[in-house]
Symmetry: C2
Subunit: 147 residues, 2 copies
């Protein structure tokens, strides 16, 4: 187990292994959710607003790596449900300023707990070393997406 001197081949292999692994995890996560009233996509948008604070629709679309029309739909649903608020931008009336509401934040907290029922159960079947691997992997996955 030495550091590789030929990273190219392992890199290609890694690409072919990583993609199906994450794709299947997303599928399983979608099915294992308990509260189906808010979808994974909607939860993710809310989580971004909660983490990074109020932002415009375009910024949220970029953060979520979707096109603006896709985000328009998500926002409309969340706003109607009272989970996200929208206000006019103070100086640019084209823009909307989106923010998570208290109700949204509460649902987010509940969802984390619900998610734990399955995912945490899965995670507890792993060894501490395996969980440590996943904890280390999260920021690397983020880096991969953001760059």
């Amino acid at each position: 187990m030495t550091t590789s001197l030929t990273p190219d081949a392992p890199t290609g292999e890694l690409a072919g292994l990583l993609r199906p692994a994450v794709q299947r995890l997303v599928r399983v996560l979608r099915n294992q959710r308990v509260d189906m009233s808010v979808t994974l996509t909607q939860m993710s948008a809310m989580a971004t607003l909660a983490q990074h604070g109020p932002m415009s629709a375009g910024e949220l679309a970029a953060a979520e790596h979707v096109q603006p029309p896709s985000m328009t739909k998500v926002i409309a649903i969340l706003e109607e449900a009272g989970l996200v608020s929208r206000e006019s931008h103070p100086t640019d009336r084209r823009q909307a300023v989106l923010a998570i509401t208290d109700a949204g934040r509460q649902l987010l907290d509940e969802e984390v707990q619900q998610r734990d029922r399955w995912l945490a159960a899965q995670l507890t079947t792993l060894s501490e070393a395996e969980r440590a691997v996943l904890r280390k992997a999260v920021p690397v996955l983020d880096k991969l997406v953001v760059q």
Copy 2:
């Protein structure tokens, strides 16, 4: 950085971080694909057939973590494109035996190369240590899904 004595809290936090990370990676991967003639879902089904050999529609659906009707559609497209073959099961005529064709295998190889144009480029921006983290994470992610 000692091994944790209270795994519950970190486990919940990990669940909340891991899900959005993999969900966004799947989105970005979908967009970064070069050959759009075959979708990610279809590629994943082909890859499973290539890795594990011929199997029934039900087995393939289970392996991909989708319901049988969802797999029916995928198979129909792949069969029409000549990428997957279907034969009658020798003893049970209800079952279809699915296998990847030579054309399918070739497309799979090409796709891996195409995927590398983006993902390998991303991976080469990481340190060797970060790539090592992802390599270690892949089997753990698989374990998470399979159990």
